[in-house]
């Protein structure tokens, strides 16, 4: 792979250095200041026809602008000035070679100017395709085989051996390994270990290794004994073999992963004490809690981070209104109930900062910040008043979910107007289902299975080591215990 442009460009650089590039880039291509932009608008016209287009080029040897419709070519042949630069794209055209040429050093100068240019206009960082560095380049050369999993390929799927009632772990691992953003993170080898890559100590390294295993093409089921050992070592409260709840395991696994990820300490400027680790980037959202004093209507607002949302299924125990009596039948119902103002009752008076006295109040939870992966936990296991039962009612959940109605700004508006307002749904709040964990059986004897999405729209049922094809109908008709949704559109920041 060539890093040098061409002989003509190299010759030019050796006689004049890189300063001409810097000047031209920062003044006429990627203007880094307002003054430069004004200069560019004034000067960058074709010196022959006076047009701004098409594809205006600047001569590198002298101050001369001309369009690509013959005029820059004319200048080049008459003056023997071989090198010209496109003033919009910044690419260098060598007339002697008859083609655009790419030089690593010049490319870096252009990139630096471009970033400065975008910042000066208040624009975000632009997406750039991955470019291998020197090490990656040699690796690519040494390993020419490429794998491109087709839609009907088994790559990315792996059965997991049950280690003795460990289906709660298998189903969570299946959900995690099929989380698109987490997969991209690990397959692009982004994890920097704080334990010197000691896979016997770092859970993140172990998950990273799992991704390698899932995508290795090996068809034999995996044995997750090391993972179980690591989680039990780092989350002692799980108390071993008796821990059977997939939801509890999911939260514990995220917690251990989050602790092992903390290569970067929480960024200093951030007031929301958010951690920059991949787990927090993907799974952490912000839940706003508004407590309204019934006496003075004063609102006290707090925002708490969350990894998942636990939703009640049974009838509301102390609700009075009609809405509280109805049993939810869909995920939307559950979320509606979750974000509804709740009267805290006369027994739970809270000191209001407005009237400086203990008053009855209402509390409302809303979504302040949505995570990239939104996990919902349907509380199917009820433990109250010495009564332990499983709620098996069917809760419908959609393949695509819009969280806009449950956002803080939206929900609070609705309360004020008390009517159906037709806000345009924000496209950034749209989610797609990618994994569902199911519990079959009852409290005494049961089994966990998972449905996962792979290859964009294909579904698979994971029952320990058995992976079989499923349809979206199978998934949507299943009972649902944990539901995992992924954002449809991601923003670069």
């Amino acid at each position: 792979m060539s890093m040098e442009g061409c002989v003509h460009l190299s010759e030019f650089k050796s006689t004049k250095g890189t300063q001409p590039f810097r000047l031209i880039y920062s003044f006429f291509v990627f203007c880094t200041s307002k003054a430069a932009r004004q200069q560019k608008a004034k000067w960058c016209v074709c010196s022959v026809c006076g047009n701004h287009s098409p594809r205006l080029h600047a001569c590198l040897h002298c101050v001369h602008f001309a369009c690509y419709q013959g005029h820059i070519q004319d200048h080049s042949t008459s003056m023997q000035h071989n090198l010209v630069v496109d003033v919009e794209q910044g690419q260098i055209l060598c007339m002697a070679c008859g083609d655009y040429v790419y030089d690593l050093e010049v490319g870096r100068i252009a990139q630096a100017c471009k970033e400065k240019f975008r910042r000066s206009l208040g624009l975000d960082t632009q997406y750039r395709a991955w470019e291998p560095d020197a090490v990656e380049m040699t690796l690519l050369q040494a390993h020419p085989k490429r794998r491109r999993p087709a839609a009907n390929s088994t790559i990315g799927l792996r059965g997991l051996i049950n280690l003795g009632n460990t289906c709660f772990m298998s189903c969570i691992i299946q959900a995690l390994t099929h989380t698109p953003l987490l997969r991209d993170y690990f397959l692009s080898d982004k994890h920097v270990c704080q334990f010197n890559n000691d896979a016997t100590r770092c859970l993140v390294c172990e998950i990273s290794r799992l991704f390698q295993e899932f995508y290795s093409g090996n068809k034999a089921p995996l044995i997750l004994h090391k993972l179980l050992h690591l989680i039990w070592t780092h989350a002692r409260h799980l108390a071993g073999y008796e821990q059977q709840d997939a939801h509890e395991f999911f939260i514990a696994a995220l917690d251990v992963l989050h602790r092992h990820c903390q290569g970067n300490p929480p960024s200093n400027g951030d007031s929301t004490h958010t951690c920059s680790c991949i787990i927090d980037q993907i799974f952490t959202g912000g839940l706003q809690s508004d407590v309204v004093c019934q006496a003075c209507n004063g609102v006290s607002t707090t925002i708490d981070p969350f990894w998942d949302i636990s939703l009640d299924l049974g009838p509301c125990p102390y609700g009075t209104s009609k809405a509280d009596k109805t049993v939810p039948t869909s995920l939307a119902d559950c979320l509606d109930r979750f974000t509804r103002p709740e009267h805290l009752g006369s027994s739970a008076k809270i000191k209001c900062s407005g009237c400086q006295s203990y008053q009855e109040s209402t509390k409302q939870l809303t979504m302040k910040k949505l995570p990239i992966v939104c996990s919902f936990h349907l509380k199917r296991f009820e433990h109250s008043n010495r009564l332990h039962k499983k709620i098996s009612t069917f809760i419908s959940f959609p393949e695509h979910l819009d969280m806009t109605p449950f956002m803080s700004n939206r929900r609070n508006n609705n309360n004020n107007h008390n009517g159906v307002t037709t806000h345009p749904t924000d496209i950034n709040n749209r989610y797609s289902l990618f994994a569902v964990v199911n519990h079959v059986g009852n409290l005494d004897a049961g089994h966990y299975t998972a449905y996962v999405r792979q290859h964009r729209d294909q579904w698979y049922k994971c029952d320990d080591h058995m992976i079989t094809r499923a349809t979206i109908q199978d998934v949507l008709q299943s009972e649902g215990y944990l539901l995992f949704y992924h954002k449809q559109i991601l923003e670069y920041d």
Partner: protein, 336 residues
């Protein structure tokens, strides 16, 4: 190469000066200007991609990234009844793994329960620890009733596990717990058989299990006769030893461990975890000193716990208050 991209020539010329504003007055020119701007933006966007591709081709990066494709047919999914997507039938093969904690090789399907004990975790760990302490103090005082204490603890353990199951949503626990309590009675017969039974009875037991005594744990292997971990020579050696009566201490210890691990004999794997060598040896020695084996009497209590209640005082007078307590408590657990 890029020269093929022509750009949007032929779009009307608009002066840079004030004429822009005046020309915007008429809808036609407004349309024309709008079209020109959108054309230019589009050209720009296209050109951006063109240059990106051109650069990666020219620098050779594209070829490098493309590489040569792997054969895909190796990874095609199978869609057949009874098979998974890999084309595999439900596994019959036992998978094994090495415990990261104690480096023992064991069946994957038994790993979680093993690890719990191996790491000394869970609610049983304190129980095991306290049992150990209790035993070591007893060894010093020399006046205890031997294995019955030990089995009492086991009994307690069973109840606790059952109770736990109710609290948590733990499936498949009841079966396990039941098996454990049942096995104590059945296993104790094996234990006594191997200790004092006739040669015929010993032979019958050794027809069912591998029986090789591990060098590390000094316990008997309770897997099937075709257990892959031990050779036929090893098995033969054990049989010679046991049947010829030259085993002595080793045999009885092995027998003891066999009896306890038979609780899991259905899985044909050694449950070697909850046991303590020293403790076993000491309890076994005591069993020998007593004419009536305490292990036997406890097992009777266990197996007939429900009957014991019915037969009431007719049950053996010699059963201590401790064992009767254990029988009633195990009865309670059955009611649960």
């Amino acid at each position: 190469m890029v020269q093929a991209v022509g750009g949007s020539g032929g779009i009307g010329r608009v002066g840079v000066d004030g004429s822009i504003l005046s020309s915007l007055a008429s809808p036609e020119t407004l349309d024309l200007v709008a079209q020109m701007i959108s054309q230019e933006l589009l050209d720009d966007a296209i050109l951006n991609v063109v240059f990106e591709v051109h650069q990666s081709v020219k620098t050779g990066l594209m070829m490098l990234e493309l590489g040569s494709l792997e054969e895909e047919h190796k990874f095609l999914q199978v869609n057949a009844e009874g098979l998974d997507v890999f084309g595999q039938a439900p596994i019959k093969k036992q998978h094994e793994c090495i415990c990261p904690s104690c480096s023992r090789n064991l069946a994957a399907s038994r790993f979680a329960p093993h690890l719990e004990k191996c790491m000394g975790m869970g609610r049983n760990s304190s129980r095991i620890a306290s049992r150990r302490i209790q035993n070591s103090t007893k060894e010093n005082s020399h006046n205890h009733t031997g294995g019955s204490d030990d089995d009492d603890d086991d009994d307690d353990w069973v109840i606790d596990r059952k109770r736990k199951k109710r609290d948590k949503n733990s499936p498949r626990r009841s079966k396990n717990a039941k098996l454990k309590s049942d096995s104590i009675s059945s296993s104790s017969s094996v234990e006594s058989t191997l200790a004092s039974g006739t040669t015929e009875e010993k032979r019958a037991i050794l027809k069912q299990i591998c029986g090789v005594i591990s060098e590390h744990t000094h316990k008997m292997c309770t897997r099937s006769l075709r257990c892959p971990q031990h050779s036929n020579e090893q098995r033969q050696a054990v049989r010679d030893q046991v049947l010829n009566g030259s085993g002595g201490e080793t045999t009885t210890r092995a027998a003891d461990s066999t009896s306890r691990s038979l609780g899991d004999a259905e899985d044909m794997h050694v449950d070697i975890d909850g046991l303590d060598d020293g403790q076993l040896a000491s309890s076994w020695d005591n069993d020998h000193s007593n004419t009536t084996s305490p292990a036997d009497s406890t097992s009777t209590n266990n197996s007939t716990s429900s009957l014991a209640k019915r037969s009431g005082n007719k049950s053996k007078k010699k059963s201590s208050s401790k064992s009767s307590k254990s029988s009633s408590s195990s009865h309670g657990s059955l009611l649960d």
